[in-house]
């Protein structure tokens, strides 16, 4: 762990370097300026506007009128909103569990292949699907779930499980789970790459020592790999939470929140409120609530999930 004394010595050294005549480079600030300007205009300003307009009644066209906390009160009294949060809880829970565990298993299996060549090719095969646009993936899954001519129902009939065919996206009992299971077998993608990079960072000497000590595979996974990958788990947990809370495209494209409100999520309700019901102020209130929930969960995650680099 780096001591305060050494940090201060770095600062003194840094000051010394500066006092030796090293000038700051204004050109660097100038080159960064366009990026910051775009960031301010397209990222931060809309966010600030969302906060300001969430306290207004605004149809997106005429001037907004200030209504205080009315939008926020309505959000918590809206039965559609409550159903949306319930759906979000279930959906995010499923996708987090799948997103944290399955890519980890895939990364472990590939990392511990004996042949480096095999490792490389399996990595490539699992990463290639990332280049397919998300919308295409969703439409393909829409076809897979189609009750009349879809792949899933036809496959079930072919293997003699015709009695299990279903209206996957139209049945209230299966619609939400069908959306949550999109992406099967859930190995390819960013999560897999992050875990794999984490495993590559584990020192070979640790793994060799464990092997020499007679450490079995599962023991090594639970005693060495998982503790050393806590940072990756933490990151993917945060990203998974953020992704789940912002989920709009999947329900919008495949079910439009239906049947009924069974796949309605707050992100979709926000979109519908703004762009279909022309209630931008209300939609922004929903977005602020989602933002606060994201912040809260991120803080909890950062505070309670320790990694090996925390506290250094």
């Amino acid at each position: 762990m780096v001591s305060t004394k050494s940090i201060n010595s770095f600062r003194r050294e840094d000051k010394t370097l500066k006092s030796k005549g090293e000038k700051s480079q204004p050109i660097a600030y100038l080159l960064l300026l366009p990026t910051f300007l775009f960031l301010i205009v397209f990222s931060y300003t809309p966010a600030v506007q969302a906060i300001l307009y969430s306290f207004t009644d605004w149809d997106g066209f005429n001037a907004p009128s200030f209504i205080g906390f009315d939008n926020f009160i309505e959000v918590f009294q809206d039965p559609v909103m409550l159903q949306s949060f319930e759906n979000l809880l279930i959906w995010t829970g499923i996708t987090l569990v799948i997103g944290l565990i399955v890519p980890f298993i895939g990364a472990e299996l590939i990392f511990h292949l004996k042949s480096k060549g095999s490792q490389y090719w399996y990595r490539v095969l699992f990463v290639i699907p990332m280049v397919i646009p998300g919308m295409v993936t969703l439409l393909i899954w829409g076809f897979i779930y189609e009750p009349n001519i879809g792949l899933l129902n036809n496959f079930l009939r072919v293997i003699g499980l015709g009695h299990m065919t279903n209206d996957w996206l139209s049945n209230p009992g299966t619609a939400l789970f069908s959306l949550a299971f999109i992406g099967f077998p859930w190995i390819s993608g960013l999560n897999f790459l992050i875990y794999y990079a984490g495993l590559q960072n584990i020192s070979e000497s640790i793994l060799e020592s464990a092997m020499l000590d007679g450490c079995k595979t599962l023991t090594r996974v639970f005693r060495i790999d998982i503790p050393l990958l806590r940072g990756q788990f933490k990151l993917l947990l945060i990203l998974g939470l953020i992704g789940g809370l912002q989920n709009v495209t999947t329900p919008l494209v495949l079910t439009n929140g239906g049947p009924g409100y069974d796949t309605y999520v707050p992100g979709l309700y926000m979109y519908v409120s703004a762009f279909q019901q022309s209630r931008f102020g209300y939609a922004m209130a929903i977005s602020i609530i989602l933002f606060l929930i994201t912040i809260l969960l991120t803080v909890i995650n950062l505070k309670f999930v320790k990694t090996d680099t925390d506290g250094m």
Binding site: L52, N256, P259
Partner: protein, 531 residues
């Protein structure tokens, strides 16, 4: 408002007191300045919007409606989106697009060489269209003459569409002997499309109907020799079709929120069930079709959960009917329900008259069509044998509904341009042009006085001249309301809610929508109708 310098000093002081020392105080000052600038930008943009509102409101109310060819001084392009009549290039999905509007535009350009009519490429369809339009309006980029459903135009955010009444009272210079443009439109149509305060936002010049299309071969196989005339006969035919054609759903219904089938059934049933009380609903001569009639009917409780005719009765009919629908009816099928019919997955399906052309283009199996069968006293409680409401799901809500945006919704609109756009709209609504454009497509009938429909659709022409009996229970007040009601029906059909729960939920969302609409349109005077 604080100056930027004072604001940044506050930030520096705030963070400084809390022990945040940075290598360079300048960095903190820069950060504070950026935050202050963001706040100023946000507030400034709100102020600009207010100023814009004020100026454009003044401009809109200040424009004069002179109309007439001689006064057109505009030089430039008029952007026009004519929906189904759009003369686009042929594609695989649309191999035979219409062309007549291009001819009409060319004729107009000969008369006005300084004006060019440019057709907007097809925007998204279905519910995405309204999203597209609202986004365009927010950005001041609505095309100069654009398709919009009259009920939606009446309940849009105020200030998007130009009130056409001043222009309607002027003569159409392209129709000999015409004294007022409004005289070219059937009175029945005008009564249905005007808003609560009597404004007209849409130039409406065609008529549509809905039909049930059926597969002739499947009907023959099931031993059905005549198309059903009553609802009960149709249910019997569904049973026969189910037995004779295994694996094929008797009826294709797209009861998703991407479609408007809920509204069609609502109109067919409400018109029949409320027929005897039409006088209570029709308060302005529109036979209950106007936005005003609907809103007042909701406020008075005529349309509401307390009246079983509103939803309770016909929801039960739908529940029984849904057992014959194709699987997955609450989700929009890929390619649309029409493809299920073309691919012989359903024996019949419910669609608009526009499907005629699409079915031919998609090479559907040999098909015929029939109107929605008669609701009878046996169909549901209150069913009326004496009134046929099959046509209720149709009306002047087809492709020829064109609105003109205000300057706020269309940044390029000026008073000069507005005169030109109105003039072009007048030119298109001569009987000859209306007839030429509508009859080429063959899906809707022209309704301009003097225009003649094709023989095959002449039955509809008669309907267009009379007040349409199309009581919709207020579901057509807005697309979001219709979607909410569709969701409640879905939940009832799929067993997620009881009938009472679904109807109560419909009641709540309808009342909420009406209150929201009244709030958004302070110029509507509803109270005088509630006394």
């Amino acid at each position: 408002m604080l100056s930027t310098a004072r604001y940044e000093n506050m930030i520096v002081h705030y963070f400084g007191k809390r022990g945040y020392r940075m290598k360079s105080k300048k960095c903190l000052k820069i950060g504070a300045a950026v935050l202050a600038a963001m706040m100023a930008l946000s507030v400034g943009m709100t102020g600009c919007q207010k100023a814009e509102n004020a100026s454009s409101t003044t401009s809109a109310s200040g424009s004069t409606a002179s109309g007439g060819s001689a006064s057109i001084t505009y030089k430039g392009t008029i952007n026009f989106y004519p929906q189904a009549y759009n003369p686009v290039a042929p594609t695989q999905d649309n191999p035979n697009p219409p062309t007549k509007f291009k001819e009409v535009a060319a004729d107009y350009q000969k008369l006005h060489p300084d004006i060019k009519i440019s057709f907007v490429a097809n925007p998204p369809a279905g519910t995405d269209y309204e999203t597209w339009l609202k986004t365009k309006a927010a950005g001041g980029q609505v095309p100069d003459l654009v398709w919009e459903q009259a009920p939606n135009a009446n309940t849009s955010a105020s200030g998007i569409w130009t009130d056409l009444v001043p222009f309607m009272n002027k003569a159409n210079p392209y129709v000999e002997g015409n004294k007022q443009w409004i005289d070219l439109f059937p009175k029945a149509v005008i009564n249905q499309i005007k808003d609560v305060s009597g404004k007209i936002y849409v130039i409406d010049a065609d008529y549509v109907d809905t039909l049930i299309f059926y597969n002739k071969a499947m009907f023959q196989k099931a031993g059905i020799t005549e198309t059903p005339k009553t609802w009960e006969e149709m249910i019997e035919d569904c049973k026969k079709l189910k037995q004779a054609n295994p694996g094929v759903a008797p009826m294709g219904i797209d009861m998703s929120t991407s479609n408007t089938v809920y509204s069609w059934f609502a109109r067919v049933f409400n018109s029949n069930l409320y027929y005897k009380d039409i006088d209570k609903i029709d308060i302005d001569g529109s036979k209950g079709n106007s936005t005003l009639s609907k809103i007042v009917a909701v406020k008075k409780g005529i349309y509401g959960a307390s009246d079983p005719r509103w939803c309770t009765e016909w929801f039960q009919v739908m529940k029984d009917f849904s057992q014959y629908w194709q699987p997955g009816y609450s989700t929009a099928p890929q390619g649309g329900i029409i493809m299920s019919f073309v691919n012989k997955k359903v024996a019949m399906y419910y669609d608009g008259t526009w499907a005629n052309k699409s079915l031919k283009d998609d090479k559907a199996p040999d098909f015929g069509s029939f109107p929605v069968p008669q609701i009878t006293a046996n169909t549901c409680k209150g069913g009326n044998d004496s009134i046929n409401t099959a046509g209720a799901a149709g009306g002047p809500y087809a492709a020829w509904q064109y609105a003109i945006p205000t300057k706020k919704a269309d940044n390029s609109m000026t008073d000069e341009k507005l005169q030109a756009v109105v003039d072009f709209a007048m030119f298109t609504t001569t009987p000859e042009n209306n007839e030429k454009v509508c009859n080429e497509l063959g899906e809707f009938i022209p309704t301009i006085v003097g225009a003649k429909p094709p023989e095959s659709l002449s039955g509809m022409a008669e309907a267009a001249q009379h007040e349409l009996l199309a009581l919709d229970g207020a579901c057509n007040l807005s697309m979001p309301l219709q979607q909410s009601l569709t969701r409640e029906l879905q939940q009832y059909l799929l067993g997620k809610k009881t009938l009472e729960q679904a109807v109560q939920a419909c009641d709540q969302v309808t009342k909420k929508e009406v209150d929201q609409q009244i709030k958004q349109h302070p110029d509507w005077d509803i109270d005088k109708y509630l006394k």
